[in-house]
């Protein structure tokens, strides 16, 4: 089922790629299918090349660490221990495997095991809900809180938490940055008043934003035992990521084509009409460029912030696996890395599609 979810996600991704692909391919003649095949071929070859290099690299690292382990056993405990170590490594026993960069095959099997794990947890959850159904109905009838499943989160749950956090943060960034951007874009004096503020806070690191938000939210939630990790992480993500939108919106609004402004002046449009009928539509493409950057920044800082906030997302997953140091931990980290990369890519495509929909000067620009 989880596999289906992932596949579906990719299907959606490809679906919104379709218009782009069509746009791209429509430029070619029909006879040029060969050239597009060539392109696909090149992509496949480059992926294979990448996997091959990765495989060789991880093998070299594995051998280096294995050789060191045997050498160490030899110098510290003698020939017998070294032979035992060699035999142990060769047998593939997990207790003595070198713990280094995992090979593509290991990562693939880790992905499988994470999916299997997800199935187990989902089944557990369903069983729990069924088992507690009667008790919970009674509890609710008595006006008490139902007992919910509090077991370990599965990998899919973790990914969903991360996506939820990033969208909440993105929404917050949008709600803060777009209105403020419009206002300071409209007034040159406000723009110079805000400029130092933007210049000073824009380069602040995600970690510091997290600490700032933590200080405030901690106090706001004082005496409340509920988990505020999600709140802290999405606010931090939003604050980190909003600057691109703020700057782009202000720039878009302040640099509307002079011709449009002249038309608005000649027609004596009121302020409201001028803003909503002329200035905003004409700055939409830049606003969406900003939002696209914001979303990709949000996804990038999310990992670090989830780690700090102990929010059950990919960031914490990666960190816990690293601390865990189990035999397949490294492979799981690489799985998470690919999932992060792919989701980031899909989010960017999503924004690009929206951006293309609102931009009106397709024919002029790019």
């Amino acid at each position: 089922m989880d596999q289906e979810i992932i596949l579906k996600k990719e299907g959606q991704g490809l679906a919104f790629l379709k218009p782009l692909v069509a746009k791209f391919t429509s430029k070619f003649q029909k006879g040029d299918i060969i050239s597009s095949l060539k392109k696909t071929g090149i992509t496949i070859v480059s992926i294979l090349l990448f996997l091959g290099l990765w495989h060789l690299g991880s093998k070299a690292l594995y051998n280096k660490e294995a050789a060191y382990k045997i050498e160490k056993a030899l110098t510290e405990q003698g020939q017998a221990a070294a032979d035992a170590e060699r035999a142990c490594i060769a047998s593939g026993d997990s207790s003595c495997q070198p713990n280094t960069l995992p090979s593509p095959a290991q990562v693939w099997s880790s992905l499988q095991s994470l999916i299997a794990d997800h199935k187990v947890i989902t089944a557990d959850k369903a069983a729990f809900v069924e088992k507690m159904a009667e008790t919970n109905a009674k509890l609710v009838a008595e006006g008490k809180d139902a007992i919910v499943y509090t077991g370990r989160a599965s990998f899919v749950d973790i990914v969903l938490t991360s996506i939820k956090t990033v969208f909440a943060g993105f929404l917050l960034a949008l709600l803060i940055a777009v209105p403020i951007g419009i206002i300071i874009g409209l007034s040159p004096s406000l723009r110079s008043a805000f400029n130092w503020f933007i210049q000073v806070f824009k380069p602040v690191s995600p970690v510091v934003w997290y600490l700032l938000v933590f200080m405030i939210v901690k106090t706001l939630y004082i005496g409340d035992s509920s988990d505020n990790a999600f709140v802290i992480s999405f606010i931090s993500v939003g604050l980190c990521a909003m600057w691109a939108t703020l700057v782009n919106t202000a720039m878009g609004v302040s640099s509307v084509d002079k011709d449009y402004i002249n038309v608005a002046k000649v027609l004596k449009l009121g302020t409201f009409q001028k803003v909503f009928k002329v200035i905003l539509p004409s700055s939409l493409p830049l606003i969406f460029t900003g939002l696209r950057i914001t979303l990709s920044v949000a996804w990038m800082v999310l990992i670090a912030i989830e780690l700090l906030a102990q929010s059950q997302g990919l960031g914490l997953f990666v960190w816990e696996e690293f601390q865990n140091g189990a035999n397949d931990s490294n492979a799981k980290i690489i799985v998470a890395m690919f999932i992060i990369g792919i989701i980031g890519f899909l989010l960017d495509r999503l924004m690009l599609t929206v951006q293309n929909m609102v931009s009106f000067n397709k024919n002029e620009g790019v």
């Binding site: 449009y260 038309v263 000649v266 449009l269 009409q273 009928k277 004409s282 939409l284």
Partner: protein, 273 residues
């Protein structure tokens, strides 16, 4: 009484009847401050344009024609002198002076109809929605855009966009129409088409028009008077030529008229001087 005779009587007798003056530029001056001192673009420029008159302005690039027009439109502040419309001094832009810009300047995200409505809604706030739509549609029909009401401006060709620009300007029923080389960016075939459309609507509406052009033939074909400006700096009116062709005119009749080449020679002599 045709507009040509008004213009004629004015210049022949040297007497101006104030009631017939639509646009009055007196001692107009424009100065741009530069680090090396003031740059005087226009100085002591006097021009009176009558009601229902079509005036074209011709002159070398950079002589200040566009500056003058944007001052009349109220988009560019006046450094000295006066501009008055029906005796009221110009204090800023307003819909009593419609402008057709060199680039069509349509809002690319709006349809042709919405672009025209933008102005119509502003000028006829008390009309019903359908009345305003009818006005916009009427002028779009007049410029030959019947099939393109709901096309986005960005989907229209340059020539069609400028047609919408013409419709937008006429639809707000201005007292004065200001045209800043409206056909300068078009190919000669499209330019001819649009000149015909412009003059056809103008014949019906008779809105006082001031048009800048670089094209001598266009200047003669459209105008009651051609105003020649001297080269800047300190540009002023160099000469004024009355075009005494009967209206309505056709391109053919104008080209075949005996005076056509006399007028043409007069203008070219001035420009090459």
């Amino acid at each position: 009484m045709s507009t040509a005779t008004i213009a004629q009587s004015t210049t022949e007798n040297g007497i101006v009847f104030p009631s017939k003056v639509m646009l009055d530029l007196s001692k107009l001056k424009k100065v741009y401050p530069t680090p090396k001192g003031d740059y005087v673009v226009l100085e002591d420029l006097n021009l009176q344009i009558m009601k229902e008159e079509f005036v074209t302005i011709i002159g070398h690039s950079g002589c200040g024609k566009t500056t003058m027009l944007s001052m009349i439109a109220g988009l560019n502040p006046i450094s000295g002198g006066n501009i008055a419309v029906l005796g009221n001094p110009v204090k800023g832009p307003g819909p009593d002076r419609g402008v057709i810009f060199q680039s069509p300047s349509l809002m690319p995200w709006m349809t042709a109809l919405e672009n025209v409505l933008l102005g119509v809604n502003q000028v006829f706030p008390h009309a019903t929605k359908s009345q305003r739509k009818d006005i916009a549609k009427y002028y779009l029909h007049k410029v030959g855009l019947d099939g393109a009401f709901n096309k986005k401006a960005m989907e229209l060709s340059q020539g069609m966009q400028q047609r919408v620009g013409i419709a937008r300007a006429f639809a707000i029923k201005p007292k004065v129409l200001l045209l800043d080389e409206p056909f300068g960016m078009l190919d000669s075939l499209t330019r001819g088409e649009l000149q015909d459309i412009l003059i056809e609507i103008w014949n019906k509406e008779k809105i006082t028009a001031v048009m800048i052009t670089h094209d001598v033939d266009e200047a003669i074909f459209l105008a009651d008077r051609v105003v020649m400006m001297t080269s800047g700096p300190r540009a002023k009116i160099g000469d004024i030529l009355d075009i005494e062709f009967e209206r309505p005119r056709t391109r053919k009749s104008v080209l075949e008229h005996d005076d056509y080449y006399t007028y043409r020679k007069h203008l070219i002599d001035f420009l090459e001087h």
